[in-house]
Symmetry: C2
Subunit: 346 residues, 2 copies
């Protein structure tokens, strides 16, 4: 439920469209106009991907995600691994050490048990890799034609170390913006698997736990102002949301954002902008400029951060926030995508 709320009301007699699940402006409007007033969320409370709460003196991060990816298995991952790493990554973006996960399954009647067994085993492996246990769960079955194989909703609890406060409101003018690797792999990998597009070489998802990157940055003494994993809506959406949440202007060097040849080619064929395509193993980090070189070196020492680099900086405070991208030809302003480029990508 990240994203700024939007004052445009939804029409009372409207219906849910696919774009309402895309993580862009339509999702933000649904949250701002339906969930926020319904839940009676206090106006000052952000409805972030991860919430922070105090429990018996401990500072906890708490997050949830629904996974409806189609197909259920794709190059580089599957719905189970995605459900574990997706929630682990949301906790890591709060600076939290993942403690425990829950897993809820909504399964369509007729789904193969052998396939469910594979997915459960993948979840167990992913949880072990992330150093977290799945401690509770639930299973419901719906009739044929009322689901699509299996949907998984995970929630997670993490412990935030003392002294760590991460969020858009911590972003300061002059901060460096780091990106942990190339962008667009996950969305293209899922899309290619779904549509039977045989790209050569095949494109694998970047799906990975980002917890080791964050733990290394914290252990290395880097002052983390803001972290965000790049999921639905990609790099551009994440940065536009942070700029809006922080009320800051961010300026990027377009040529610093890596896109693999394979992803670039696929995006050209599909008419997609790779900056808006989903990732599941990439983050942006906002740190004071004097910590940027150290942060870059630490990220590069981790396997999933080997191509980390500084892609821009926070150039001004005040206003509603915006993201500018310097190109050879000039400057473009990034927008939130309206609906969704690629449905059911996570």
């Amino acid at each position: 439920m990240s994203g700024p709320s939007c004052p445009l009301p939804l029409s009372e007699d409207g219906v849910i469209e696919r774009g309402h699940g895309g993580g862009g402006a339509m999702t933000a409007r649904l949250i701002g106009d339906v969930f926020r007033p319904g839940f009676a969320t206090p106006p000052a409370t952000p409805l972030h991907d991860g919430a922070t709460l105090i429990a018996g003196g401990a500072r906890l991060a708490f997050t949830t995600d629904c996974f409806v990816v189609m197909p259920l298995e794709f190059p580089g991952g599957d719905i189970g691994t995605l459900a574990i790493f997706g929630t682990v990554n949301d906790l890591a973006m709060c600076g939290a050490t993942p403690l425990a996960l829950s897993a809820g399954f909504i399964i369509e009647e007729g789904f193969e048990i052998a396939r469910l067994r594979r997915i459960a085993a993948a979840m167990g492996r992913a949880a072990a890799a992330a150093g977290v246990e799945i401690v509770t769960g639930d299973t419901k079955v719906v009739e044929r034609g009322k689901g699509d194989g299996v949907y998984i909703t995970t929630a997670g609890i993490g412990l935030i170390p003392s002294g760590v406060t991460i969020g858009p409101d911590q972003v300061r003018p002059g901060d460096a913006v780091l990106l942990s690797g190339d962008v667009g792999r996950h969305g293209i990998a899922v899309m290619a698997a779904r549509e039977g597009l045989g790209f050569e070489p095949p494109i694998a998802s970047d799906l990975a736990s980002l917890a080791p990157l964050v733990a290394a940055l914290i252990a290395g003494g880097v002052r983390l102002h803001c972290l965000r994993d790049l999921t639905r809506g990609g790099l551009a959406t994440a940065l536009v949301e942070i700029a809006a949440g922080a009320g800051m202007e961010i300026t990027l060097r377009s040529d610093a954002v890596a896109v693999s040849e394979a992803v670039r080619g696929a995006c050209e064929i599909l008419g997609l902008d790779p900056w808006y395509v989903a990732n599941e193993g990439r983050l942006v980090a906002f740190v004071p400029m004097e910590d940027a070189a150290r942060a870059e070196a630490i990220l590069r020492s981790e396997p999933s951060g080997s191509a980390a680099t500084v892609i821009g900086r926070v150039t001004a405070a005040g206003g509603r926030g915006r993201v500018l991208a310097e190109t050879i030809g000039g400057m473009r302003v990034l927008d939130l995508p309206s609906g969704e480029q690629l449905p059911r990508i996570c």
Copy 2:
């Protein structure tokens, strides 16, 4: 994911049937044979409805539930209220004070926004009534024919007061078994709404937050050995699971278990046993016999516990556990239901 695991393996080439979601023996087998080995859950760790964990010195309860009830609105409640109270109740059954909830929505394309608004508002009211906030969430949209209106998965965190340890392993021979009210209302209310059965008088769900009952028992100094809310599978399934988990024999007085005339009549028409029909606002409590009268008085002082009574006691230790029900004619042994009596009841 409550329930004992079962040694009978699922066939490798089998498929998911509706009964796998019923909360009975088939669900237990799915958990024991697919999820437990897949997640690599240590054999000693129970996969309860609510897990207990330690975070920075605090003792937390953590739980999740998926809600796929059909119809989405029924006499006495709706899917949103059910999602909030269902998770609050699981926390309360650990003796925990609910702290925060998450809510994940899987919405079918074409769902009316006005209806979603009603459900969100009901969730806000239920959360306020239970004294808990919805702090984080997620929304996904699936194509027409890949869902059924809306599915909601909630997770919750609660704080367990020091000195409180509740679970089947705390049950002792001689313990009294209390039931907080009459049984079978929720299942029959949903079934009647779904099938258009016009029972006269209409039967409303017992849906309620059980947190006030538990808080009152703890405040009153009652030593709570085990608590369980009676959801899918009803009273009988809850007691059979506790007996198995505790390795104890439980003996009930059948005439002490209240069933309203309306529910009894509906169950006769539908061929259902009300002891196996779902509830959403009823609990059983295991307490030392010398605390039983006080516990009964405390429960009766709360609106949702006004018909609380002692229905039986723990008669023997050892063995695999079983539940006996004394009737006028003799004694019957209660079983786990195999599949599911009433699909999509929660």
